[in-house]
């Protein structure tokens, strides 16, 4: 009973966080930057930040994760980190030779007042950026928001600092990926191809963080949105932002800069959200939905109908990041399940508002995000109202074990199982995977607990 100290009684806490349901901004910025081809993320802060982010991403993906650091010292934090960053830029281009450096700040560099816009401009003015190479930045103070905010800020930085409006529209649609897995990004591209729509997806970590074994360590794997594609997003006819927290800021930046109209959608997880995505994409592109996609949808509906009795009324606790939790909660409701406890460490009114819209169908649900919304609170809620299923990242395994609850790993980070980077959870096929996992967990439990005479062969 690792969590034996968790009390049932919920008390207000003054700021203390116990077992967080989030982490800090820079890791999100690093993940987003890995979705640009030939990009080396750069952490402007102490060495530890970069090391921790790389280790965490490596544990989640079991892939090499490359990123550089300004390696702050005491001197830098007194006199400012400009000198460190300028040295770093020179070193990186001369040694690691990326096409792009994507710099993000940390709590340290933000607090001492380093201005990334000014420093990167100085680097450009001083001729430290070789011909044809690029540097972009995002401000990602760790004391604001969460890792999701950091992702959103970097994606907005990508849109804002690459997009060019030539005045000539291209027949293509931008799809701005919220924080999702490489497998999900691959699936979004597949669906777009099936629809016959030309898209630019960014960022795109497929073929970066799900790379095959080749006998080589590719410092810059083949995947990622290219600079050419990123420049062209200013000429696209529309943008679809998949996620109101992690993707919308980039769509807004792009609308401001290049007047590309956008629509914000929930991440296409589950039937309803995928329906909206397919509808929006086909309408924006003026295409009809091909039979193959309709058939995928039909298969998902068929499975749900077949197994409907096993979902009914099952209580679920879930935790994680806003853009997954919103459509996932909706999907659980569509499955006739009961999402009773929902926790996210990520703050934000936009998130709360959208969640409340979804939760109109579940007035019984406990939902908390931001300050005080941690795994300790979730555990307390579960003690007060037990659940049949827990969904969330690896850190849910303590609660699952102590309370003996079936547990599905979903979200970030997953550091004790594989699959998330290879099998999508978006789209109708992603929905099928989720349904399979949910049923597997529930039915295994039913089998485990069944009395011998009730132990069923046919289910």
């Amino acid at each position: 009973m690792l969590l034996r100290h968790t009390t049932k009684e919920v008390k207000e806490r003054e700021g203390l966080t116990i077992n967080p349901a989030k982490t800090c901004q820079p890791i999100g910025a690093m993940y987003a930057a890995l979705g640009i081809h030939g990009c080396l993320p750069h952490s402007h802060g102490s060495q530890g930040c970069c090391s921790y982010h790389r280790s965490t991403l490596t544990r989640h993906y079991k892939e090499p994760v490359m990123a550089a650091t300004s390696s702050f010292t005491e001197g830098a934090s007194v006199f400012g980190g400009q000198a460190n960053l300028l040295t770093a830029i020179e070193t990186i281009f001369s040694v690691y030779n990326p096409d792009i450096i994507a710099v993000h700040s940390t709590c340290l560099s933000e607090t001492i007042g380093d201005d990334l816009q000014q420093i990167t401009k100085k680097a450009k003015d001083d001729g430290k950026i070789p011909e044809g190479k690029h540097i972009i930045y995002a401000s990602t103070p760790s004391f604001v928001g969460s890792h999701v905010t950091g992702y959103a800020n970097m994606v907005a930085g990508i849109a804002d600092q690459f997009a060019v409006s030539t005045g000539e529209k291209k027949n293509q649609i931008n799809i701005i990926a919220g924080w999702m897995e490489p497998s999900d990004m691959r699936e979004i591209k597949r669906l777009s191809t099936e629809l016959g729509v030309k898209i630019v997806l960014f960022p795109d970590t497929s073929d970066v963080l799900d790379a095959p074994q080749t006998g080589k360590h590719e410092f810059y794997p083949k995947g990622g949105t290219t600079v050419e594609e990123l420049k062209s997003i200013g000429d696209s006819t529309h943008s679809l932002a998949l996620g109101c927290i992690s993707a919308e800021p980039a769509a807004i930046a792009l609308e401001k800069r290049c007047k590309v109209p956008f629509e914000t959608l929930d991440m296409p997880i589950g039937i309803s959200a995928t329906d909206r995505f397919i509808m929006a994409l086909s309408q924006a592109a003026g295409v009809t939905v091909p039979d193959e996609i309709t058939a995928d949808r039909g298969r998902l509906v068929d499975i749900i109908a077949d197994m409907e009795q096993y979902f009914f009324g099952k209580k679920v606790a879930l935790f994680g990041d806003p853009d997954q939790l919103i459509p996932l909660t909706e999907f659980l409701l569509d499955l006739n399940m009961k999402p009773v406890h929902i926790v996210s460490g990520t703050p934000g009114q936009r998130f709360e508002k959208r969640m409340k819209e979804i939760l109109v169908r579940a007035p019984y649900a406990n939902f908390k995000n931001g300050l005080g919304a941690d795994m300790f609170l979730l555990h307390q809620w579960i003690k007060n109202e037990p659940v049949d299923l827990l969904i969330g990242n690896t850190y849910g395994k303590y609660i699952a074990r102590d309370e003996d609850i079936p547990f599905i790993r979903y979200g970030f980070p997953i550091i004790d199982r594989i699959g998330h980077s290879y099998f999508p959870s978006v789209g109708y096929t992603g929905g099928m995977r989720l349904v399979e996992k949910i049923l597997g967990a529930l039915m295994d439990r039913q089998d485990r607990d069944a009395l011998e005479e009730k132990f069923e062969l046919v289910m």
Partner: protein, 454 residues
């Protein structure tokens, strides 16, 4: 990216042992990494966290934004036989307003709430980068809370940017020094030791402790594996400090020597040779009790008798295979070289994140000709040397593992993500088994290897 060479300014941290030359090794270690390098190193906070983390009946509160607590939440397999407070994650989760107005109040309330909730034996408060900048007086808060709650509340000055990981070790050691000397030493035997620098990963401290106890020696405390505050408090009652992992705890051993007159010896528990030596060295110290040495010899001969035939099987398969080592401390590298030799493998690359000048001089002595020695390396260099030197195995930590596998090279985690004990005689068996299992894995027959050419 074949044209990637050695990082400019890195030449002084790389050395290749050549034949027939009387080379002076002069690696500039002890420096912070070059700005802009893809370093595998961490920060001061990381160093402190590593050392204190295994103290299982204390709370470990990270004072700073959420990341530092989140990334260090239960990622080290430092096992406890009882309480497990160390496996939880506590943070003051500092926000913008705290950065502006200071986080002392939040720290105070968080501590009070935590101590009330968890009733720990002590509390460690880690300061992170921005705490060093905004100037919170964490010492004052700790004093106040200690007075109010009656338990030791110890500040750890581990601001990430104030040095290297080694400075973090020191900061942790000075917190421990404040605890040591506050407990009763009444019943402690003259034939007693503390085990320093052993963090009980996968239960390793238990194995080591058992050997010493079998020899008739009392182990007063393990610092900090399976650590308990009460044991730390009475550590000054031991006659000898036995220090493993040169980097992390030597400073504590030196402080204890100065303050309490306790001498220390450096040991390693990896490999038959070093493991045996660490038992003999302790026995030698208690030379007025020959039975201790007798017992040590008995343990060694008994264990080796069991182990030797087993190792021969691995040796047969592994002879001629080449290894690359890139680990945290240099001391571990020495043991690994010897351990690998005992199963027929040679070392073609040896490096560490935190070795010092002496360490590297000794490494040079130990290594075969042609071996590359690196300090604070990066993935490009590692990949380059692994391919050039045709290594069959990489020994490293979490960030190195996938690089090895992409290259089609076997891997052994000798860092905190090891799943089985690698220390002690049984640890040598486990190590050989793990190396064997990875080097001889059938997966390699399907995988393009070593740059895609083999």
């Amino acid at each position: 990216m074949e044209q990637i060479g050695i990082l400019e300014g890195r030449e002084k941290q790389i050395f290749e042992k050549k034949s027939g030359q009387n080379q002076e090794i002069d690696l500039s270690c002890d420096t912070t990494s070059l700005s802009g390098s893809v370093s595998q190193r961490a920060c001061v906070f990381c160093g402190s966290r590593v050392v204190l983390y295994p103290v299982a009946d204390a709370i470990h509160l990270v004072h700073g934004p959420i990341g530092c607590a989140a990334y260090t939440w239960d990622i080290r397999g430092a096992v406890s036989s009882g309480p497990e407070l160390h496996r939880l994650s506590f943070s003051t989760d500092l926000k913008e307003l705290d950065v502006i107005y200071g986080g002392e109040k939040k720290l105070y309330h968080s501590l009070i709430e935590l101590i009330e909730q968890y009733k720990p034996k002590a509390a460690f408060i880690y300061s992170t980068c921005i705490v060093g900048l905004i100037g919170d007086d964490i010492d004052a808060v700790c004093r106040k809370v200690a007075e109010e709650t009656g338990i030791p509340v110890l500040p750890v000055h581990s601001e990430g940017f104030k040095g290297t990981k080694k400075d973090g070790y020191k900061a942790a050691c000075s917190s421990l020094m404040k605890l040591i000397g506050t407990g009763s030493t009444e019943t402690i035997s003259k034939y007693s030791i503390n085990i320093l620098g052993e963090f009980n990963l996968a239960g390793e401290a238990w194995i080591i402790r058992e050997y010493y106890e079998k020899m008739g020696i009392e182990v007063v405390s393990t610092l900090t594996g399976d650590g308990r505050i009460d044991a730390v408090r009475r550590a000054h009652g031991a006659s000898l400090n036995v220090v493993q992992c040169s980097g992390s705890m030597t400073s504590l051993a030196k402080d204890m020597e100065e303050k309490y007159g306790i001498p220390f010896i450096r040991v390693s528990y990896f490999g038959i040779e070093d493991m045996s030596k660490s038992l003999y060295d302790v026995a030698k110290y208690f030379s007025d009790r020959p039975d201790i040495m007798e017992k040590a010899k008995e343990i060694v001969s008994e264990e080796v008798k069991k182990l030797y035939p087993e190792l021969q099987k691995f040796r047969k398969a592994l002879t001629g295979k080449k290894a690359a080592i890139y680990v945290g401390g240099a001391f571990k590298t020495f043991s690994l070289i010897k351990a690998l030799r005992s199963i027929g493998m040679s070392v073609v690359l040896a490096g560490s994140q935190t070795g010092n000048t002496e360490d590297y001089a000794r490494l040079q002595e130990m290594c075969d000709e042609g071996t590359v020695i690196v300090d604070d390396s990066n993935p490009v260099e590692l990949s380059k040397f692994i391919l050039e030197k045709e290594a069959d195995l990489l020994i490293g930590g979490v960030k190195e593992r996938p690089i090895a596998f992409k290259l089609g090279v076997a891997f052994c985690d000798h860092n905190h993500e090891r799943k089985i004990p690698l220390a002690g005689f049984i640890g040598m068996y486990n190590f050989a088994l793990e190396v064997y299992q990875s080097v001889m894995s059938p997966v390699w027959q399907f995988a393009p290897r070593k740059g895609g050419n083999a």
